[in-house]
Symmetry: C2
């Protein structure tokens, strides 16, 4: 008999169960030819004594080997190694511990998408980063949200709900959003016009998936939100660049295009266009509604930033007006909470939402139904509305502080227009100060900023940076602008 | 002067700010022709007196009208209604409160996907539902997870992390999964081989998006997980049905196909095939690995259920063996937690994962980075492993209870094979007992079950139901089987 007690090492501190360790060791011995096919193995009582384990443990190991066809159990003779299995190139399917089947690159055909431009990342270290317009999670009611989550989770009446939830998203949250958009945007719609998504991003992805066929003509701003461009492109869209000036997209350009050819889709960010933060003027808004009416093309209205407006009230969305169901309206609650909590929504005619809901199921089944319920509770109690009011006040102050700092410290280096709203300031650097060089120097000075290249389209180099002011307090803004100044030359 | 105090109703209990109410009322008056283009409006002090509000409130209302181009401010003359704007078909863009632009169906072209088969849903009411294999959230360490989440959120060193996070998912969680899959599956891979997704579902969606071109030949089981079929179909795949028997997919069928034509993709669920719960035998597994080696086609290995195995240990995944980077391995942690907490992963060669990460960004930017960090902490402390052990023990008991109940109560109605693992039992009803009728009667008796039609493919009517046993305790299982029995005739 083989010296099983030395051949089968057992590590009682391992997270692998002992029976599994025994089974794995036996497989290795069979594979390595140390235990021969057809040979008998010791009975479980005997092996248990040898290995100083309980007999049941050895029985479990043998059961595993039996299930995996490594051994057969011969009545009155005990376990016996199978004849046929281990001989058929066993090295092909028993992994050596050192096998790394993933070290080779995938060499079958697959679509590629990148590399996409990326914003300066984080890591856990406290290092100043200029992001492109994120909210400040420190002021978000996340504690409250988690407390609600926990309360609902432990409430027995939510058991079924935890298991399933509604496919289009929590009914309570959808109802809360209906009320909220009615109050703030004058929008009127029903439960079957809204699906909850993982942030505005997923809603853009889904609408694009549904509308864009390869070769579709999609009108987008020049420049545009680069992640939307990436989505449209990977679905095979042909991007038509619409100029964007201080009053938003050039609607005359769109009209001229329509006269030649009906666009398959228009993607527009009327409030605080990304990246330039300009707002579509009400005159252009009206003209655009006429064009939609006249030519009947679908529109994705990405209104991720509507709730953050500082100078008077924001102009009502296209979606609030009469548009015969042509406008797919997309919004986000992530900007009102914290980046990890991704909740957005899509508003559209019922037949579109019904299909979007099916697509949503294919993508990720559904959202976090308890998180959605918890958030609905915050809306119902008015906590979200209060939080939004506080945020708007605070972010407006931070916008003002940033503008003053830039005026003081970088007057000859940058130009900008104070944005009416949003969480970022579109900061254009004079061409003597190329951002590619500044961003490198900044990194050396400990400040992470983007080189702005992701905004460049059609050979136009903007040499501009979105400075997200909302996530930084006064001290942090001073520090960031100070480091930026230090990195200019 | 117009009787502004009656024309401008102010509701101090409304959630719409007073200045906004004033602005909206003035817009309505201009639109309705009551206030004429070019006419002057009262000064802010005067209007404030009339309306009994603070002067600043009126100023804010005027500022809003000014921003929206409804009025201009003439020096020393006060606000004056614009000449040009309101005359250009103003009824087109000012929403009446009752306007419902979404009542019309979307009538532009878009892809449709459904209706997809759907499982019996929940709602919040406590009503017995037989699901198709969900875990029991009551035993999940969700309280612990939320406590960790809250602790990390309030830890200042996580601030940057909250804002950004890693694009492929939390490094801590990916590291924890590397260790976990090494312990439990003998898999060896690195950080650049794994991306965190929203459940296994998103991983399937992403892999399909990357691999499937219209007309691609995709081998799938007959029957197969219907949501995977739906994904493949909507990307234009041609589904080739591979027979599935008691030992899993028919590998000889695959070989015959390969001899004619190289498949573009194989989708396989080796453990507890969905819906039939059979496990691929190790002999077939070996044969399949040889075919992958010989013909070099990519494989999606959906191993959502691996961690729940009751009879001995599970057979190692294809991904553990040498496959030259051909196997995209997909797993889920949702089944080990609770349905709302959707966390899964995709393991693949680095170049595939890099592109999948870019696609993931387009879909939803990233996951909940704090939830991922919190879950990593649970792995590190061994809490997840302990929870899994407890779950396996409990679910095995529940499987046994269900099998006994079916034997006792429905012996002449159903046939089934006791599954070696997983969270559901594939229950075949004799053809004298059509599920379509039983499910209707069950609904009347207060039990929600599927009619099993979503599993039917290629005209094959299985008349079978997946009975998820994991989420029901003994009493609930008895109740469900009792109601099922009552509904049989």
């Amino acid at each position: 008999m083989l010296p099983f007690q030395t051949l089968i090492p057992i590590d009682r501190n391992s997270t692998v169960p002992v029976y599994q360790q025994i089974a794995n060791a036996l497989i290795k011995l069979i594979r390595d030819g140390i235990i021969k096919p057809g040979s008998s193995l010791p009975g479980s009582r005997q092996l248990a004594l040898l290995l100083d384990v309980h007999r049941k443990t050895v029985e479990a190991a043998y059961e595993e080997l039996f299930i995996q066809d490594w051994i057969k159990v011969v009545p009155r003779k005990g376990p016996q190694v199978s004849q046929h299995l281990p001989e058929v190139r066993p090295h092909n399917f028993v992994p050596a511990v050192s096998s790394t089947p993933y070290t080779q690159p995938a060499n079958f055909p697959f679509y590629t998408f990148g590399p996409l431009a990326s914003l300066p990342g984080g890591g856990k270290k406290l290092r100043p980063v200029i992001n492109d317009g994120l909210p400040d999670p420190r002021i978000a009611p996340v504690d409250l949200l988690l407390r609600e989550y926990r309360r609902l989770f432990n409430q027995s009446s939510y058991k079924r709900f935890i298991l399933t939830g509604d496919q289009a998203g929590s009914v309570s949250l959808r109802t809360a959003i209906i009320d909220f958009l009615s109050d703030t945007r004058g929008m009127t719609f029903n439960l079957d016009n809204i699906v909850i998504t993982r942030g505005a991003q997923m809603a853009i992805f889904m609408a694009a998936r549904m509308i864009i066929r390869p070769g579709a003509n999609v009108l987008v701003g020049s420049p545009n939100y680069f992640m939307a461009d990436a989505i449209f492109r990977q679905f095979g869209a042909n991007l038509i660049r619409v100029p964007v000036d201080d009053h938003g997209m050039d609607i005359e350009f769109i009209e001229k295009f329509c006269k030649k050819q009906k666009p398959d889709l228009l993607y527009i960010i009327p409030h605080h266009h990304h990246p330039t933060t300009v707002t579509l003027s009400s005159e252009r808004r009206m003209r655009l509604l006429q064009l939609i009416d006249q030519y009947g093309f679908p529109v994705i209205e990405d209104d991720y930033d509507y709730d953050f407006h500082y100078s008077g009230g924001p102009i009502l969305p296209l979606a609030s007006a009469g548009h015969n169901g042509k406008v797919i309206y997309i919004g986000s609650l992530t900007k009102s909470l914290a980046p990890p909590i991704r909740i957005g929504y899509m508003i559209a005619p019922a037949n579109f939402i019904e299909q979007a809901t099916q697509l949503r199921r294919m993508i990720d089944i559904r959202g976090d139904s308890l998180l959605e319920e918890a958030l609905a509770t915050l809306f119902k109690a008015g906590d979200m509305q209060k939080h939004l009011k506080r945020s708007v006040k605070l972010y407006q102050q931070r916008r003002n502080i940033l503008c003053e700092l830039l005026e003081q410290e970088l007057k000859d280096v940058v130009t900008f227009t104070k944005p009416q709203g949003g969480l970022a300031l579109w900061t254009k650097f004079r061409k003597e100060y190329p951002l590619s060089e500044i961003s490198e120097r900044a990194a050396n000075n400990g400040l992470m900023i983007s080189d702005g290249r992701m905004y460049d389209v059609d050979g136009h180099h903007f040499n501009a940076l979105r400075i997200g002011f909302a996530s930084m307090n006064e001290k942090e803004l001073e520090e960031a602008v100070g480091l930026l100044k230090k990195s200019v030359k």
